[in-house]
Amino acid sequence: MSTDIKKKVLDILQDDCRVSVDQIALMLGQNPDTIQTLIDELEQERIIVKYPAMINWDRFDDDLVTAMIDVKVLPQRNVGFDQVAERIYNFPEVRSVALMSGGYDLSVIIEGKSMKEVALFVAQKLAVLEHVQSTATHFVLKRYKHDGVILDKQEEDHRLVVSP
């Protein structure tokens, strides 16, 4: 199977993971069995990891706070940053961890019930980790766009209903 078709399947699922195998097959002019096999493979390879819904929690429950934390780390011999990252991502409060280029090393996103809870987590769990040199905490005040989707704006069709 060409990588081209794989990429198209991934694009379709990323946009809407509820699209049926049958529909994807029609859209790409492929056999449904072929598409099913391909999706199975993508899942096994953990290229497709999960099928979550994108939720704007701000509209549902305003209590949760999110913080982005810049972490400077002293890399360890042989294992580099990976081991420090692992120590961090194992905390359930941590939503995501990424290794960065530039002014700091790890970007950590944390969710908590209050600013205080997040601040305490940083002070008590994160900053005290061996090899963590410093942290800088930034709280998210409002999300406008997430993963390519503008959150508050409903897309409207301004076109005439019928035109030549």
Binding site: K8, I12, D16, V19, Q23, L26, M27, L28, G29, D157, R159, L160, V161, V162, S163, P164
Partner: protein
């Protein structure tokens, strides 16, 4: 104030008064009065103009570009168009005097008719087709001669059909491939036959290639690229479909400099020039719009396959449209006429599609379905159409009685 229509009509031009209103317009009025309609009736992209193009327009405004351009349009834009046509379709035009920027390709259609036709000259118009060719011919004093195309030929124009319609008064042949409303395309070999015909009868060809970029199998071939056709052809293109820029109204006409000069004269006296902001946005589209255009084409292509497969599955034969963003399924198996089908589908399922006969008599027995809609919209509408078609097949009454 009351208007006495009888007394008013003596002030009006009877040629214009007798032009039939577009069949689309009639259907539009019907749809507009129905609430909660899912429409598949629109002839324009569902995408908004890509942001970088809109942004180029803001920039032009901020820098004070709010004036007229030359009648021909910005030289910068004409140069970009010349480069694009040369690279994409292997047709070479001089941006100095062989390219005219118009207010949409629609204006260009009108200019071609007025610049070339003398009273009584005949124009061969393959049908079904876009609604403005015949009226512009008539307004220019010409005679519009419909040339039917058939689903058996995948709605391609054939020389046999042209031979039946040609007379010594024939001046011009209109081509519109990829086609609105059928989605048909023509390959090089099929067009070569038309080219020979044009040569034999010494005809001009208006090739409306507004949907050229929306070609899904193979690549579009411009009629002007056929041997000997560059001089005979007036090639029309634009930005509306390729770059989702319908409201900007920027199109262009390319052809022999003597034809373009006469078209420019009419354009100069009636339009002066196309809006400068739109022209500057079009420059941006050609320079940096390739990847966004490809993304939109890929989405149309996926929807196209889906829509065609769904119609065929529900028992409405739909030949494979290879261009534009329309499917043209045949509805004769339902026993309904195009207009009955569309009116009942609207009343019973609140889905709007356009009757095929709005695009000429040979469109009777078909409906035009635009797939310039999100997959969610398409799926919902097609589900409803399927229910409607099943109801027609079993002869059961509409749910509302």
């Amino acid at each position: 104030m009351s208007t006495d229509t009888n007394s008013m009509s003596r002030h009006l031009n009877p040629v214009i008064c007798s032009l039939p209103p577009s069949g689309i317009r009639r259907f539009f009025d019907l749809v507009a009065t129905t609430k909660g309609v899912i429409s598949l009736g629109v002839g324009e992209p569902d995408f908004v103009t890509p942001w970088h193009i809109r942004e180029a327009c803001f920039d032009a405004l901020e820098r004070g570009f709010t004036m007229y351009t030359s009648n021909l349009g910005l030289l910068e834009l004409r140069q970009e168009i010349a480069k694009f046509l040369d690279n994409a379709y292997d047709v070479t035009y001089n941006p100095q005097d062989e390219i005219l920027i118009t207010v949409g390709a629609s204006e260009a259609v009108d200019l071609v008719m007025r610049a070339t036709l003398q009273p009584g000259d005949e124009v061969l118009i393959p049908e079904p087709c876009y609604v403005s060719y015949a009226p512009t011919v008539i307004m220019a004093g010409g005679v519009a001669v419909p040339v039917p195309t058939y689903v058996e030929d995948e709605f391609r124009l054939t020389v046999q059909a042209l031979e039946r319609a040609v007379t010594p008064r024939t001046k011009l042949v209109v081509l519109c491939y990829p086609n609105n409303p059928t989605g048909a395309i023509m390959n090089r070999e099929q067009m070569a036959a038309i080219a020979t015909f044009a040569q034999q009868h010494d005809l001009l060809v208006l090739s409306d290639e507004i949907y050229a970029d929306l070609t899904y199998e193979g690549t579009h071939e411009s009629f002007a690229s056929l041997p000997g056709m560059l001089e005979r052809t007036i090639l029309l293109g634009g930005f509306s479909k390729s770059y989702a820029m319908t409201g900007w109204r920027i199109g262009y006409a390319c052809g022999h400099k003597e034809i373009v000069a006469q078209m420019t004269k009419i354009h100069q006296y009636t339009m002066l020039c196309a809006p400068i902001m739109g022209q500057m946005a079009a420059v941006e589209a050609l320079r940096n719009g390739q990847s966004e255009k490809e993304r939109m084409v890929e989405e149309y292509d996926q929807r196209r396959r889906y829509v065609v497969a769904r119609f065929n599955r529900m028992g409405l034969y739909c030949f494979e449209p290879r261009g534009a963003f329309y499917a043209f399924p045949q509805i004769t198996s339902t026993g309904l006429s195009s207009e009955e089908f569309c009116a009942r589908l609207l009343a019973e399922e609140k889905v709007a599609v356009v009757p095929g006969n709005a695009f000429g008599q040979s469109g009777e027995g078909f409906i035009r379905v635009s797939y310039a809609y999100s997959m969610t919209n398409l799926t919902a509408a097609l589900d409803k159409i399927e229910i409607f078609v099943q109801r027609c097949a079993t002869g059961s009454p509409s749910p509302k009685g």
